[in-house]
């Protein structure tokens, strides 16, 4: 077992990196749920469009010769900003076209519409990039390479290698989360958002433009999803229109895990899901004598967690249990 244990720090770090991505995407789900009480099924596709926007931006920089001359960090920031703008705009558009006309309709109606949007966007991306680039499986230009570690504390080796791109994911995610939580809790617009989430008609009576706040929620959530998409593209180097589906499901699980509607819950849920998933993937094989191989069942692990949470503690870690009003 010492051999298995020695990879544990690396497993946890890898899990944390993925967990940060889950957390940032989960913030988008949880914000929309908080304000509108519905699952924005298309959020995973907004994340995917962020990755594609980042790809196009990097290709543009590469074509202009900036990628070699510009400091990588500046290129990265520019890419992330472009991806945020594209995804934020997409989030706003989707809300305007497919959700706003359905506000006040029974719960299943916007959900079905959102599923439609998700399918539409997925296939739309496939068509667009097949037409433009000849293939929808794209390889993202390498922006940041190199790793740090392993370290030594005295004579104790710490066998952890962290790619710099992974480090960037963590730093950027923390910055965005802190920024968002500050925005929602400390600014006037953030206060308006919380008011709309709490009680829409009353917020409207207090002079808050509810439509604007809802649009803003979609722009912010979409922007975060887009940034996560850009970071994903830079870190993993390969994208396709279907990257959003599984990652989106996991991020949603993370949001439910933390208690949907709660920003801190989404962060904690994302990180714990990432780490748990990495541990299960690494150790499922050895523990079952290679009967069940971890990587094969990795993608359904999140669903098992989701079902367990919804059965045992539907409100999640940070959510408040609500009883249905009659």
């Amino acid at each position: 077992m010492p051999e298995a244990l020695s990879i544990l720090p690396q497993v946890i770090v890898d899990g944390l990196v993925v967990g940060f991505l889950y957390a940032v995407v989960a913030l988008g789900y949880t914000m929309v749920y908080g304000v509108l009480e519905f699952i924005n099924f298309a959020h995973s596709e907004i994340f995917m469009f962020g990755a594609f926007a980042a790809f196009e931006m990097l290709m543009l920089l590469q074509g202009a010769g900036f990628l070699a001359t510009l400091p990588p960090l500046i290129a990265l920031v520019a890419t992330v900003i472009v991806a945020m703008a594209v995804s934020g705009g997409l989030g706003w558009t989707v809300e305007r076209i497919a959700y706003r006309p359905l506000r006040g309709a029974p719960r299943l109606v916007p959900l079905i519409s959102a599923i439609g949007v998700s399918f539409f966007l997925q296939d739309f991306a496939r068509v667009i990039w097949t037409a433009a680039r000849g293939n929808y499986q794209l390889t993202v230009p390498n922006l940041i390479s190199g790793t740090i570690g392993p370290w030594k504390i005295g004579s104790l080796p710490i066998n952890v290698m962290i790619p710099i791109s992974a480090l960037i994911i963590m730093v950027a995610s923390v910055l965005m989360m802190v920024g968002l939580i500050w925005f929602v809790n400390r600014t006037k617009v953030g206060k308006a958002m919380r008011a709309v989430a709490q009680d829409r008609p009353t917020a409207s009576l207090m002079g808050i433009n509810v439509n604007k706040i809802i649009s803003l929620t979609f722009i912010l959530g979409g922007g975060l999803g887009g940034a996560a998409g850009a970071l994903f593209a830079v870190r993993y180097g390969a994208i396709n229109p279907y990257i959003g589906f599984i990652l989106g499901m996991k991020a949603f699980t993370a949001a439910v895990f933390g208690g949907i509607g709660s920003l801190a819950g989404a962060v904690v849920g994302g990180l714990s899901l990432g780490v748990l998933e990495a541990i299960v993937t690494a150790y499922l094989g050895p523990l079952t004598g290679d009967i069940l191989k971890g990587p094969e069942y990795k993608d359904i692990f999140a669903f098992v967690i989701l079902i367990l949470i919804l059965v045992l503690k539907p409100a999640g870690l940070f959510g408040k249990a609500t009883s249905e009003k009659v």
Partner: protein, 427 residues
């Protein structure tokens, strides 16, 4: 425009007037039947045949006439055309399968109001149960089969497998139903989606330690069954006849179920589960019944699919299929049996006939194969869902409710009332 409208109302009048309706119906049926036989290659032949059946079903003629006029094109004209157009029989089998699947999903979503995004999992269950035992697959993990039936069971086994497939699918339905009993609409949707994924991942990876499902490559070849002593060969009309009977039985079962005690309990649960519970509807039992019943229809059609396809693999049972079936019932009208049949027929014809025709057309015009029109299915499903939700939630053929005249309770004649807007969605 006004002339078109006038023409339309004249046509409607033709089929509504007691004097002209029988002649008009017979004429329409004969014309479309002739077209089917004379132009068997065209997708429009089968489209017009189906439209004719729909029109006749709503004409002011005797029920026996309706049945006869529906049976003749389906049992005579279509099989005759199938001898010249080899794609027609598989298309019709697929159509029957989708009609029954859509009706089954409609039971869960439309009648009981439980949005199930993993409906294809039960279909996969039925298909795998049949495929494993009707091919060499069973011999790979069961010694008995290796010894006695190394290439699997065939022939009459199909009939014996029906109750088994129904039971397996119903059990899968209960397995899904149990954990989701307390969940609300949107969580339920995500969990059922996850269930579909889980079944797909399991079927992909259950080739070790025991090779049960054949893994990612799937199972092939699947033996032909015997229908009444006739081997059901590919393109043969035997599979089509059985599929037609299955689909018809499903539709009849749905009509009975909708008005039954069970169906009314589901409707009550869908409209307001708290009120339903207060009125003594056992929610747990009703939800499990809905999942199990809906699933078993799916399982039976899965068997038929395995027979038709002769080959199954996990990719056949993806999330897109579940959404495809959902788009059929949304297009036709949630909760409306007629609507669901129309929606299933429309989407199936579009997917397997008209998209292919268009694809040939555009390929001739130089569209690269990567952008082939038949690959646009998810785009179309997505558009159907969005457009229907925004503009016509109740579907093309909305559900109607039998209305009971309270003042005349002695003679409760159910008559189709004007549509209640989006009945199944209005909770």
């Amino acid at each position: 425009m006004t002339q078109l409208r006038k023409l339309y109302s004249q046509l409607v009048g033709l089929f509504q007037s007691r004097r002209t309706a029988p002649a008009a119906s017979i004429l329409l049926t004969v014309l479309t039947g002739l077209m089917q036989v004379l132009v068997p290659q065209s997708g429009f032949s089968i489209l017009f045949t189906l439209v004719a059946i729909y029109v006749v079903a709503h004409a002011n003629v005797h029920t026996v006439t309706k049945v006869v006029l529906a049976v003749i094109p389906l049992l005579v004209a279509v099989p005759i055309a199938g001898r010249d157009n080899f794609a027609l029989m598989p298309l019709m089998v697929q159509l029957c399968i989708y009609v029954a699947l859509a009706l089954g999903l409609n039971l869960v979503v439309g009648f009981a109001g439980l949005l199930d995004l993993g409906y294809i999992a039960f279909f996969a269950g039925g298909a795998y149960v049949y495929a494993i035992f009707a091919s060499g697959q069973a011999a790979k993990f069961l010694p008995w089969f290796a010894e006695h039936a190394p290439t699997g069971l065939g022939g009459w086994w199909f009939w014996a497998a029906i109750p088994i497939a129904l039971a397996v699918a119903a059990l899968l339905g209960i397995a899904l139903g149990l954990p989701v009993l307390r969940m609300r609409g949107d969580y339920l949707a995500i969990v059922t989606l996850g269930f579909g994924e889980v079944i797909q991942v399991i079927s992909r990876n259950l080739d070790h330690p025991l090779n049960i499902t054949g893994g990612a490559p799937g199972i092939a070849p699947i033996k032909y069954p015997f229908f009444f002593g006739i081997p059901a060969e590919y393109n043969g009309i035997a599979v089509y006849m059985v599929a037609l009977v299955f689909a018809t039985l499903t539709a009849m079962a749905m009509m009975r179920l909708e008005q039954s005690r069970l169906g009314r309990a589901w409707a009550a649960m869908r409209e307001d589960d708290i009120a339903a519970r207060a009125m003594g509807v056992p929610l747990v039992k009703m939800k499990l019944m809905a999942f199990a019943t809906g699933a078993s229809f799916s399982g039976a059609m899965g068997m038929l699919f395995a027979v038709k396809q002769q080959f199954i693999n996990p990719d056949t049972f993806g999330f897109m299929e579940s959404i495809g079936i959902l788009s059929m019932i949304i297009l036709g009208g949630l909760g409306s049996i007629r609507g669901v049949i129309v929606g299933a027929a429309a989407v199936t014809l579009l997917r397997f006939q008209f998209l292919r025709d268009l694809s040939d057309l555009f390929a001739g015009a130089g569209l690269p194969p990567a952008l082939d029109i038949t690959k646009y299915q998810p785009l179309i499903f997505g558009l159907i869902l969005i457009v229907m939700m925004i503009y016509r939630k109740e579907g093309l053929v909305p559900a109607t409710r039998p209305q009971i005249d309270v003042d005349n309770l002695g003679a409760p004649v159910p008559k189709p009332a004007s549509s209640t807007q989006g009945k199944a969605l209005g909770q």
